[in-house]
């Protein structure tokens, strides 16, 4: 997915993509630091040099991050600090050092939570209540009148596809139904910022697609979504704008191509299907950014796999060569630009989360 396919780009009211500014702490992070201008002067969610200790364990290490809109995926290995970061964004945790604010209001202050909807990863409900009753109670806690609570409850239940199943007791719900109810209660007060911790966990493929569409429509309405997920393929369908966490730091943040471009140590692999592969291979070997070219084996040697440094320059040169030599490119596919691959490069190992 290229940057112009990013859902956030297509839905942004101002037509500008950027939604995140991050200044990762530490030398490693600085290498991948991105500064993307945003369309609003005031950040919606702002982490300022935030650190969090659990006893002697450092969960977050001087994280600075700001979000202004769109969908941002939060990925990282287990124990990287994702959930801690999300809980701080919602005021469930207090930073040991630094400050977290939503529109300038400290997230530890209850007023900030009028702007934030939170869908936690746990699903410990009052099992005796029905889904409808649970969501209604949550609406009352938001301060709505009885009538308004009922209307909002019905609206959000319909939104997450639970209206016809909401009268059953929560103890009889499947994992997917619980996820939907959790999402419903997070949407009740129409928050500007929606924080979702593993929202796709346990949901079947059809339900997952439905929820992805809900997330996209929310972003299209100008909401800011921060989604933590281990479901990298699903996350990629939703957004290619990610914040990658490692060992309590923001290792990188931005769109996937932007992050990938910064990974100079790991050459980009690109598969190219072209009408004259041998000619193209010869041309590419003369390009300084190209490290190697593999030609597909007989009997149909039509594909090349090229490894190149500095993807931006490589693609510029490649485009020029294609035009100059009138090559017919049938397919151009980066092989290691997925979240999974980038995560693997950043964190070492396979990138499995």
């Amino acid at each position: 997915m290229t940057s112009d396919q990013h859902p956030m780009f297509s839905v942004s009211p101002s037509g500008t993509a950027p939604s995140v500014v991050a200044r990762p702490a530490g030398a490693a992070a600085n290498q991948h630091s991105l500064h993307i201008p945003h369309h609003s002067s005031e950040p919606l969610l702002l982490f300022e040099q935030v650190s969090k200790w659990y006893g002697s364990v450092l969960a977050l290490n001087q994280v600075t991050l700001s979000l202004t809109g769109g969908i941002t995926g939060l990925v990282g290995a287990n124990g990287a600090g994702k959930s801690t970061l999300l809980r701080m964004a919602n005021g469930q945790l207090k930073p040991t050092l630094g400050r977290v604010s939503v529109h300038g209001i400290d997230t530890w202050d209850w007023r900030a939570r009028r702007l934030v909807g939170y869908c936690p990863d746990i699903d410990a409900f009052y099992e005796d209540l029905s889904g409808r009753r649970f969501v209604w109670v949550m609406a009352r806690l938001c301060g709505y009148t009885r009538t308004e609570s009922t209307r909002r409850t019905e609206a959000v239940l319909e939104r997450v596809g639970m209206r016809d199943r909401a009268d059953r007791k929560l103890r009889g719900y499947s994992k997917g139904m619980r996820q939907r109810v959790k999402l419903a209660q997070a949407l009740l007060h129409d928050p500007e910022l929606l924080i979702l911790d593993e929202p796709l966990s346990g949901i079947d493929p059809i339900g997952r697609q439905e929820l992805l569409e809900v997330f996209q429509s929310l972003a299209a309405q100008g909401k800011c979504l921060l989604i933590s997920s281990h479901e990298l393929e699903a996350l990629e369908k939703l957004t290619n704008h990610v914040a990658i966490m490692a060992r309590g730091r923001i290792a990188a943040v931005g769109t996937l191509p932007q992050i990938r471009e910064l990974l100079d140590d790991h050459p980009l692999s690109v598969r190219i299907d072209v009408d004259r592969p041998r000619d193209l291979a010869r041309l590419l070997l003369a390009v300084p950014e190209v490290l190697s070219v593999d030609i597909g084996k007989a009997p149909e040697p039509i594909g090349l796999v090229v490894k190149a440094r500095h993807p931006k320059q490589f693609f510029q040169t490649f485009s020029r060569l294609v035009v100059e030599h009138q090559l017919e490119v049938r397919r151009l596919e980066p092989l290691d630009e997925s979240v999974h691959d980038i995560l693997g490069y950043l964190l070492g190992g396979s990138g499995k989360t």
């Binding site: 659990y54 959930s83 809980r87 919602n90 005021g91 469930q92 945790l93 207090k94 202050d109 209850w110 007023r111 939570r113 009028r114 934030v116 909807g117 939170y118 936690p120 990863d121 746990i122 410990a124 409900f125 009052y126 005796d128 209540l129 109670v137 949550m138 009352r140 806690l141 938001c142 301060g143 709505y144 009148t145 308004e148 209307r151 909002r152 609206a155 959000v156 319909e158 939104r159 209660q185 997070a186 949407l187 007060h189 129409d190 929310l218 309405q221 100008g222 909401k223």
Partner: protein, 310 residues
């Protein structure tokens, strides 16, 4: 915001403004009560509390009826003639005559049921939120941590008043009907205020104590053990030491201290309090105040540090 709401939730514009977090505390109390009334055991305890009330209710009626109608007659027990008035002697300890001690005694005995009920309610109302991890749902809404505590205290307060204050008011009303109601209600209006005061003291103290202990131990069994220690073991110890060493030792019996505060609200003479000797009223108030203060300090410490770490 309104426009977003319309798009998102697809209903007509809502022009209202959400209430503040105090309103949410009331909503939280309501759902807590809802959770409690679904438990049969608590209905059983309520029934037991109702039995205590009916005992006082009918005994008060019986004493007045016997005194008025049959006081001069005698009946024979095993051939021994006994004045009817003497048959009601065993009620004297309960002072079923519409005085301060009537209501004080009623609340004292109702306390046995109340303590058991609250020990069980604490883990359901508060402990489960911590133990099962449902707290993030509450605290992700626009309420503060103190509003959460207030909501739970309100729910507990409802139990206390349903079980203690309301029935005591019922006894006061009954006493007025049994005696000369015009004179009784006017002369003993301060008793009504005293009942309300006693109820308030119980509500504040017990709700803080329930929330504090439930936040501390979270589960039902340890909670019951701690409450039994507070209200049974310390009571026995306080009673023993109060008789043999110093009456101030009775202060460690929290229920007795609350009883003294209640009698002080009801305007009972200190010398009429049984068993004797008893510490002074002001000492009991100090003790109850200290317990509330300790609970508040503990809750403050815990509430400020309530962080959702799974």
């Amino acid at each position: 915001m309104a426009a977003h709401t319309d798009n998102l939730l697809r209903y007509r514009p809502w022009r209202g403004k959400p209430h503040g977090p105090l309103y949410a505390s009331v909503a939280m109390a309501r759902v807590s009560l809802l959770l409690m009334v679904r438990r049969r055991l608590l209905w059983g305890l309520f029934a037991l509390g109702l039995l205590v009330f009916f005992f006082f209710f009918y005994a008060q009626y019986l004493v007045v009826w016997i005194t008025n109608q049959l006081a001069t007659e005698t009946v024979r027990f095993a051939g021994i003639p006994v004045t009817i008035g003497n048959l009601t002697k065993f009620f004297d300890r309960l002072a079923l005559n519409g005085t301060a001690h009537t209501f004080g005694n009623f609340i004292w005995y109702q306390g046995y049921v109340l303590v058991i009920l609250l020990a069980l309610a604490g883990s359901v109302l508060v402990g489960n939120d911590f133990f099962h991890g449902s707290l993030p749902f509450y605290l992700s809404k626009p309420i503060g941590r103190w509003h959460y505590v207030l909501g739970k205290c309100l729910a507990i307060g409802v139990f206390v008043n349903l079980l203690v204050t309301l029935p005591a008011i019922g006894l006061w009303v009954e006493a007025g009907v049994l005696y000369d109601w015009q004179t009784y209600y006017l002369d003993n209006f301060d008793l009504l205020l005293g009942i309300l005061g006693y109820g308030l003291v119980l509500t504040i103290t017990l709700s803080l104590l329930v929330v504090a202990t439930a936040v501390w131990v979270r589960r039902a069994v340890p909670m019951v053990m701690i409450w039994m220690g507070l209200f049974v073991f310390l009571r026995m110890l306080g009673d023993q030491l109060g008789r043999e060493v110093d009456p101030r030792w009775r202060l460690i019996d929290l229920w007795n201290s609350l009883y003294l505060c209640g009698l002080s609200c009801l305007g009972a003479e200190h010398v009429t309090i049984r068993p004797t000797p008893q510490p002074e009223y002001w000492e009991a108030w100090m003790m109850v105040g200290t317990v509330c203060g300790v609970c508040l300090l503990y809750l403050r410490r815990r509430v400020q540090a309530v962080e959702i770490v799974s």
